[in-house]
Amino acid sequence: MKYHVTIDGEELEIELVERDGRTLAIHPELDDGVGVPVELVPVQRSGSYSLLVGDRSLPVVATGDEDELTLTLGSETWNCAVVDEREVLARAALGPGAARAGGGLMRSVMPGIVRDIRVAVGDTVERGQAMLILEAMKMENEIRAEVDGTVKTVHVTPGTAVAKGDSLITLE
């Protein structure tokens, strides 16, 4: 089975095959694409695993659901979107369309309280410009534009308590 793993903005195709009761992982950068025996053993209910890739040993912690995993390996954390071949085919059958929305929508990366809004609908903003002040943990944090654009919608008002992932401002 082939797995499409989107990690750090790049999509990698990993194939897992069973041979003689072991799992081999196939990818061009793994042993020249011949395949390497891999083993993932659950250690704790809380999502920790021991991973062997060939003889290499790595402690892994996986949180999140199976499609959107957060993996911690050797102190680095990666967000991985995973789909397998079957799921890709199933989605293709549903037709194209709702691929990935987003674009100019800025979401809150943490819960907090909106203290000040520095832009209004119709304003032109440059990448890096402060648009909003969000307070959390006793610090005031400036939320800056991630792209150049025009403010299309402001989803919050000063005093709004936002959760992680809530929409703040849409640019276009």
Partner: protein
């Protein structure tokens, strides 16, 4: 002598104080907000009193509630930790009035040394060099701008009652004073209940070096050398070390002398820290005095072998210091890393959520001061620091290597932390060489907040595919089987397989 200590704080520092109580055989009383009911300081203390409420103002900042808890439990001493009421002269006075030993200086001393402006005057008259700047608080932005124009840019705007990097802004141009003043004052009101600010000249590329002092009621005064805290982000210390990687011996001696002299001049009693800026030429300037225990006291403890919190309790109980200046010997090098619930990749935004998985480092030279536990909900009500890792080595290189090795062992899943960021930071050649000043982090931040070398990216992708496969199989299995007939999950089976059989 004291016998029961109320710890007017939370988090790792409350745990730290309870440990010192146990060392000295003193009973301990925890107080807690509704959000902290399950926290380690509550579970470790001998007694625990609910303060009722969750906001700092309703709980750890409420002098009335804290004193009621002390009265109810018969505590005879109060340790304020750091933050919260630790620098409140009013609280120190209120404890004294209630017949409680306050573990820190008197209200009068705090007013002299805690208020930054007054402290500057006091130190100047004790012959300690201070940073050029105003000797009066600026009431509004316009006045601050006038003063700043006079001193010359860049300048610092600082909260009179500030600390911990809050209520502080660097300003390089006259026209930016107004905006910076407003934000710093607003932060200062939120954090310290006092929005007044003062203006100070910026020292160019300084080192932040501080001297730990201990003074008891018997006239004994001891310094425990210096700590270097130049690795700062937004004036918030991130990594501290003891000794400094750079300080010339004569400067160290002169600074220690000035610190003890300054503290003695104002009749300071208990543990305190005199902070200095040291410029490239080795000139040092008094910055402020922290009239409380500091977060980074740990590196001094590792290198000097003195339990600073235990000394604080001894002093508060009227005992003499357990050590003299001749007793305290520097031994090796220690580094402290602050572990914060923040996401460096997103501007160090505070990160909240449940601790899904936790692994703590250990072994030789590794000390951990934390209150994290698996299943804990990290909230945004309080400071984002969730723990401190302190590593000792026979020299700076060994301490750095230990720290990096221990950071690799330290796994916190469920929230973002500054662990990976710090690991990259401590591998920077300039940091390893000890060539850095307070501007280092701001100048090199961009490189440090990324993903680094991405050594394990492919392995992470393989792991993701394997976890996906495992969970998809489990889901199918779960759907296909009624709950009662369902076998145990794979990890339980694995565990059982490992248990004793008779097949030895």
């Amino acid at each position: 002598m004291i016998s029961k200590v109320l710890v007017a704080n939370r988090g790792e520092i409350a745990v730290r104080v309870i440990r010192a109580c146990r060392l000295l055989g003193l009973a301990s009383v925890a107080v807690f907000s509704d959000a902290d009911r399950r926290d380690p300081h509550v579970r470790m203390a001998d007694e625990a009193i609910a303060l009722g409420g969750t906001s700092p103002a309703d709980t750890y900042l409420s002098i009335e509630k804290v004193l009621n808890a002390a009265r109810r439990t018969g505590a005879d001493a109060v340790h304020p930790g750091y933050g919260f009421l630790s620098q409140s002269a009013e609280f120190s006075d209120a404890c004294a009035a209630a017949g409680l030993a306050f573990v820190g200086p008197s209200g009068d001393t705090m007013r002299k040394m805690g208020g930054k402006i007054v402290a500057r005057r006091e130190m100047q008259s004790a012959g300690v060099p201070v940073v050029p700047g105003t000797l009066d608080p600026s009431e509004d932005a316009a006045e601050a701008q006038r003063v700043a124009d006079e001193i010359g840019y860049p300048v610092m705007l600082k909260a009179v009652s500030g600390g911990g990097g809050k209520g502080i802004r660097r300003v390089t141009r006259s026209e930016d004073v107004a905006g910076a003043f407003e934000r710093a004052a607003s932060e200062a009101v939120t954090s310290f209940g006092d929005g007044s600010l003062y203006v100070e000249k910026c020292i160019d590329r300084p080192r932040h070096i501080e001297i730990q002092v201990l003074l008891d009621s018997h006239g004994n005064a001891v310094h425990l050398g210096e700590r270097e805290c130049s690795l700062q982000r937004r004036h918030q210390k991130i990594v501290e070390e003891c000794p400094s990687s750079w300080l010339p011996d004569e400067t160290r001696a002169a600074m220690a002398d000035a610190a003890v002299r300054g503290a003695a001049a104002v009749g300071y009693e208990n543990a305190g820290t005199v902070e200095f800026l040291v410029d490239q030429s080795g000139e040092f300037y008094f910055l402020e005095m922290n009239t409380r225990l500091q977060v980074e006291h740990t590196v001094t403890e590792m290198v000097y072998g003195v339990d600073i919190v235990a000394e604080q309790l001894r002093i508060a109980g009227g005992e003499a210091l357990s050590v003299t200046q001749a007793d305290v010997q520097r031994n090796g090098h220690a580094i402290e890393v602050r572990v914060c619930a923040e996401d460096p990749a997103h501007g160090f935004f505070p990160s909240s959520g449940r601790i899904e998985h936790l692994e703590l480092p250990g072994g030789p030279g590794v000390r951990l001061d934390t209150f994290l536990f698996e299943g804990q909900e990290v909230t945004l009500f309080y400071d984002s620091m969730v723990g401190k890792l302190i590593c000792w080595g026979e020299d700076r290189e060994a301490a750095l290597r230990r720290t990096r090795a221990a950071l690799r062992e330290f796994v916190v899943a469920g929230i973002s932390t500054t662990i990976p960021f710090t690991l990259r930071l401590l591998a920077e050649p300039e940091i390893v060489a000890g060539h850095y000043d307070t501007s280092y982090l701001d100048e090199h931040m961009e490189r440090l907040v990324g993903h680094g070398a991405g050594r394990h990216r492919l392995a992470a992708a393989v792991a993701a595919a394997l976890v996906h496969r495992e969970r998809a199989r489990e889901r199918v299995h779960r759907r296909a089987t009624p709950a009662a007939a369902r076998g145990p999950s794979p990890w339980v089976v694995h565990g059982r397989r490992n248990a004793m059989g008779g097949d030895r």
